[in-house]
């Protein structure tokens, strides 16, 4: 099984590129302390707004902080927030999806209604509203993004569960006396897993994008934390004089999001070609 997976993976270029980018971002985040020459909040006022040079690879901002180090440390925030968000939203989404799909009837209707309700609102606006209510901080960013985007998990898990629950092997399980709990966790969930893995990898970049957006709007990570959105926002006043402040974090966001999307799409082609997202 795993050998086949690796073989298919190597054949799939999208997956290979995506995996390489994912791995590079992960590597940078883990070894940020070694890679970054400065800490993210070290100021050298004399060297403010420097061009990219040998000492400061990506240049410096108006307080003389090293952009390269800030971008490197920023990867930690991006990945960490992305990971926590995905864990929370997949937990909510998968449980509700399984319940709705398996039990049907009134349970299904209620869950579907709530899902459609969250689905119908633009995510960034809803997230903004929630953060305004809770106050700007990284934890609240996590909460709000999870609340905004669990619905995608519910929809797909529900649909898959509905089709699986009528499969002969589930019926057979019922016939030899398995209870609902076992049927859901031993028969349905493992068979939905490929789709869940795919949605998870695709949910990660959108979570990162949303975190940066909220950071850019000043509602996410608070300075001096080097969230990519925050660095970008700090560079806006100097965009003509010192464009490197905005270019590099922007590039980091694009690179990471692109990588995760490619990874997700590659995984989808390998694991679950029929899944449509």
């Amino acid at each position: 099984m795993i050998n086949n997976f690796i073989k298919d993976g190597l054949k799939n270029k999208t997956f290979c590129v995506g995996f390489f980018i994912f791995f590079s971002v992960l590597f940078i985040a883990i070894f940020a302390d070694i890679i970054a020459p400065y800490t993210y909040d070290e100021m050298e006022i004399i060297n403010k707004l420097n061009n990219p040079n040998q000492q400061h690879l990506f240049g410096t901002d108006r307080y003389g902080r090293d952009i390269f180090s800030r971008v490197v440390y920023g990867s930690r925030i991006a990945l960490w927030v992305g990971l926590i968000v995905v864990i929370i939203e997949s937990f909510i989404g998968i449980s509700l999806g399984l319940l709705a799909g398996y039990y049907g009837g009134i349970t299904n209707r209620i869950i579907l209604f709530i899902t459609d309700l969250t689905w119908s609102m633009p995510p960034i606006i809803l997230a903004l509203a929630i953060i305004t209510m809770l106050g700007p901080s990284l934890n609240n960013v996590v909460t709000s993004i999870a609340i905004v985007s669990w619905a995608q998990f519910t929809r797909i898990v529900r649909a898959k569960t509905q089709s699986l629950k009528n499969m002969p092997f589930v019926e057979a399980a019922r016939a030899f006396g398995e209870n609902d709990f076992n049927i859901i966790f031993r028969y349905i969930l493992p068979n939905v897993m490929p789709s869940i893995i795919v949605i998870t990898t695709l949910a990660l970049p959108s979570a990162i994008l949303l975190t940066s957006s909220l950071g850019f709007l000043g509602l996410g990570a608070q300075p001096p934390l080097p969230d990519w959105g925050v660095i970008l926002y700090n560079g806006i006043p100097f965009i003509r004089k010192a464009p490197w402040i905005t270019i590099f974090p922007g590039f980091a966001i694009a690179y990471t999001v692109l990588g995760f999307n490619l990874l997700g799409e590659g995984l989808r082609d390998i694991l679950d070609p029929k899944l449509k997202i």
């Binding site: 009837g105 499969m167 016939a175 030899f176 006396g177 068979n191 897993m193």
Partner: protein, 323 residues
């Protein structure tokens, strides 16, 4: 008719489906009982309600279907009065079922061994013993290379092997009643024979009764003890195998027998039964078979025939046989 020999008796069982077109009464006041250690065959064409009857026995009818009436007395208790939770203890342990489609009947993500032991562990046996027993079961259902097969995934096995694993899984907990819903339909003829042989032998070994659902009279003749013929949601004839084969008394049974291919007779075309199965949303009044019956009389359209004994143990629902 009720005796101590009966394992299950089904009294006036009705099942209907609420569809957008109307209420379909798929099973209508069906009565029969299965004795201990016998193979009871339920025969009929597609859509006559034989599978629905079996699902009702397991209480596995799902939406939009509903059991609308009757009793299923199994070992002195009415299965229809049990709670969901109590049914979990009946299914698998006392009544098991083999399904039509062996290709999709196993969970694709687990090895055969862990699936079999999953079924056995339900009886509170330690995991180690369960694995040992799993290999034994695979041996029992005559799969070559039991040790190796135990470590295979379902997609690595052929249809016949999968059906054998399924049978092994279903009998692993020694049920008193095994329902076999067209167990050989998806398999080729040589495998069919092997599967039937296994079912027959296991029946002797674990002393279980079998409810065999099929549309194949060949299979019935081979292994069944008694037969019930079903038509449009009703049982039209019940009897011992030899009674039904020698003296079929309901016109439908006679026509079914007439439409079997025979080796020893030279005939041109195979005989068929005129017409189609009636629509069960508006079943015909009177005898449900009267529209297709060559002996149909005016009374047939008015009086609903009752099951009556034509000889000992042989019942038939046709007003023409009364004389």
């Amino acid at each position: 008719m009720k005796t101590d020999k009966d394992l299950v008796s089904i009294n006036d069982l009705s099942v209907s489906f609420n569809t957008s077109a109307g209420v379909v009464s798929a099973v209508d006041r069906v009565n029969f009982s299965i004795r201990k250690k016998e193979i009871f065959a339920l025969v009929g064409e597609s859509g006559c309600g034989k599978s629905t009857t079996a699902y009702a026995l397991m209480r596995l009818i799902s939406e939009p279907g509903e059991i609308t009436g009757g009793k299923i007395i199994f070992q002195g208790q009415d299965l229809l009065s049990l709670s969901r939770r109590e049914m979990f203890n009946i299914r698998g342990k006392k009544i098991s079922m083999i399904f039509q489609n062996p290709l999709d009947s196993l969970n694709p993500v687990y090895r055969i061994k862990s699936q079999l032991s999953e079924a056995i562990v339900l009886d509170k046996i330690s995991k180690k013993d369960a694995w040992k027993k799993a290999v034994e079961i695979i041996k029992e259902v005559r799969i070559p290379d039991p040790e190796e097969r135990a470590n295979s995934y379902p997609f690595e096995l052929s249809g016949g092997m999968r059906q054998r694993v399924m049978i092994g899984m279903m009998i692993s907990r020694n049920p008193q009643l095994l329902i076999a819903d067209e167990p050989t339909t998806a398999l080729d003829v040589t495998i069919q024979a092997q599967i039937l042989e296994i079912i027959k032998d296991l029946k002797e070994a674990i002393e279980t009764s079998i409810l065999l659902i099929t549309h194949d009279f060949g299979i019935v003749a081979e292994i069944a003890d008694r037969i019930a013929v079903m038509y449009a949601g009703k049982i039209v004839e019940i009897g011992e195998v030899f009674q039904i084969f020698e003296k079929p008394c309901h016109p439908y049974t006679q026509l079914l027998m007439g439409s079997l291919p025979r080796m020893n007779k030279k005939e041109g075309r195979l005989k068929t039964i005129f017409g189609n199965v009636p629509n069960l949303i508006n079943p015909p009044i009177g005898c449900r078979f009267h529209e297709r019956c060559p002996y149909s009389k005016k009374e047939c359209q008015e009086i609903e025939p009752k099951m009556e004994e034509v000889e000992k143990g042989h019942l038939c629902a046709c007003i023409l046989t009364r004389k």
